[in-house]
Amino acid sequence: MNETAAPLPTQAQISAEIAAAPSGRSEPALGFAPYRSSLLRFPTKDLRQADPEGAELLAPVFGQHDVDPLEADLTIQAGGEPLGERILLTGRVLDGDGRPVRHQLVEIWQANASGRYIHQRDQHPAPIDPNFTGVGRCLTDADGNYSFTTIKPGPYPWQNHRNAWRPAHVHFSLFGTDFTQRLVTQMYFPGDQLFALDPIYQSITDPAARERLVATYEHDLSQHEWLLGYRWDIVLTGSHATPLEGEDHA
């Protein structure tokens, strides 16, 4: 993909670009030069305002046909126990008005404990774990709760700049009640030393907003001699339904 032969920028150059970016954006800047892959892939013309109508008003519907409850446990997908820290990831999916998003699909994917994805394009020379695919799905419950048992992913290097490392993260794919609420994002772990260096995380230039991507460690979620628990709630954009209408959609 148009990889240039020019030497990769240093972390210091990327960090200087991050520091110089306009602050206060609560959504990622679509064109964020420190994330080099964004340069030719973001629209430079303004988004057009549209009133949602027709198919935009209704998210796709998933159900018990679609998702096996076992898909929420990423530690039992192969013959044996994957390596790494076993963790629980749980939280609620809410819409912009604070209503739970019920019985809706949540998809996740992630690297293994060594920072390696099972993807042919991942050439990081860290071991593949034969007992870990790093893919999970679940449906939220009647209160909008989701829950996954998995392994804490490792950080991994990438080609954005020299000595570039992504903070450990889990990719999340979410649907709301409206098609327009679709969200794909990444969840991070508290206290990661790589946050300040990462142009993808830093593309959200409002610190409070990007911290909403960081899960919290919650000891009451940890299980005796079994796993560590993290909570991460997700808030989608607003739906077209008024709060009263929404309460009727059981």
Binding site: N2, E27, P28, L30, Y35, L40, R41, F42, P43, T44, L47, R48, Q49, A50, D51, P52, E53, G54, A55, E56, A59, P60, V61, F62, G63, Q64, H65, D66, V67, G96, D97, G98, E107, Y117, H119, R121, D122, G134, V135, H171, S173, D178, F179, T180, R182, L183, V184, T185, Q186, I200, S203, A209, R212, L213, D233, V235, T237, G238, S239, H240
Partner: protein, 177 residues
């Protein structure tokens, strides 16, 4: 009001997680129409690591609200997902959406890609659309950028340009503010 969770790029490694068998076949291949096109970047190069999702009404103008959007089991659920291939092409096997409440028929579209920090929304209108509020707000060139082209084989062609002189029209909705 709770504060919204920001988006992040889908990244380069979604292919083993999001695509699934039959993901782009809202209708079995050969029984419906083919909606297809190429996703281009700002240099005019195809984007081989993009993902599109469509949401649509059936031919009668009803937006299905039936479960099974991953498996389908022979049911038309009005939703599908297609990653782009090495040549940047996506495709869906589907039906042409009917008019919902008298509006111009369209496919609602979400776009994801490596390098794209947040999802984008657009619409793909069927050729020769009737009067439509969004289209009416655009100049002639931009209108054309939202309307599919009928190919000789009957398929619908719609290319997406993420950036550049021919950039596609991307949408934002009141709920996003």
């Amino acid at each position: 009001m709770p504060e919204r969770t920001p988006g992040q790029t889908v990244g380069p490694f979604f292919h083993y997680a999001l695509p699934y068998d039959g993901d782009r076949e809202l209708m079995p291949v050969g029984t419906g129409i083919r909606l297809h096109g190429i996703v281009y970047d700002g240099a005019g190069e195809p984007v081989p690591d993009a993902l599109l999702e469509i949401r649509q009404a059936d031919a009668a103008g009803v937006v299905p609200q039936v479960p099974g959007s991953l498996l389908r089991n022979g049911v038309f659920t009005g939703w599908g997902r297609s990653s782009t291939d090495l040549a940047g092409e996506y495709w869906f096997s589907t039906v042409e959406p009917g008019s919902v409440d008298g509006g111009a028929p369209f496919f609602a579209v979400t776009v994801f890609a490596r390098g794209l920090l947040d999802r984008l929304f657009t619409r793909i209108y069927l050729p020769n659309p009737p009067a439509d509020r969004l289209l009416a707000s655009l100049d002639h060139e931009d209108q054309a950028r939202m309307i599919a082209t009928r190919e000789k084989d009957g398929s619908l062609r719609f290319d997406l340009h993420l950036q550049g002189d021919n950039q596609s029209i991307f949408l934002t909705y009141p709920g996003h503010q």
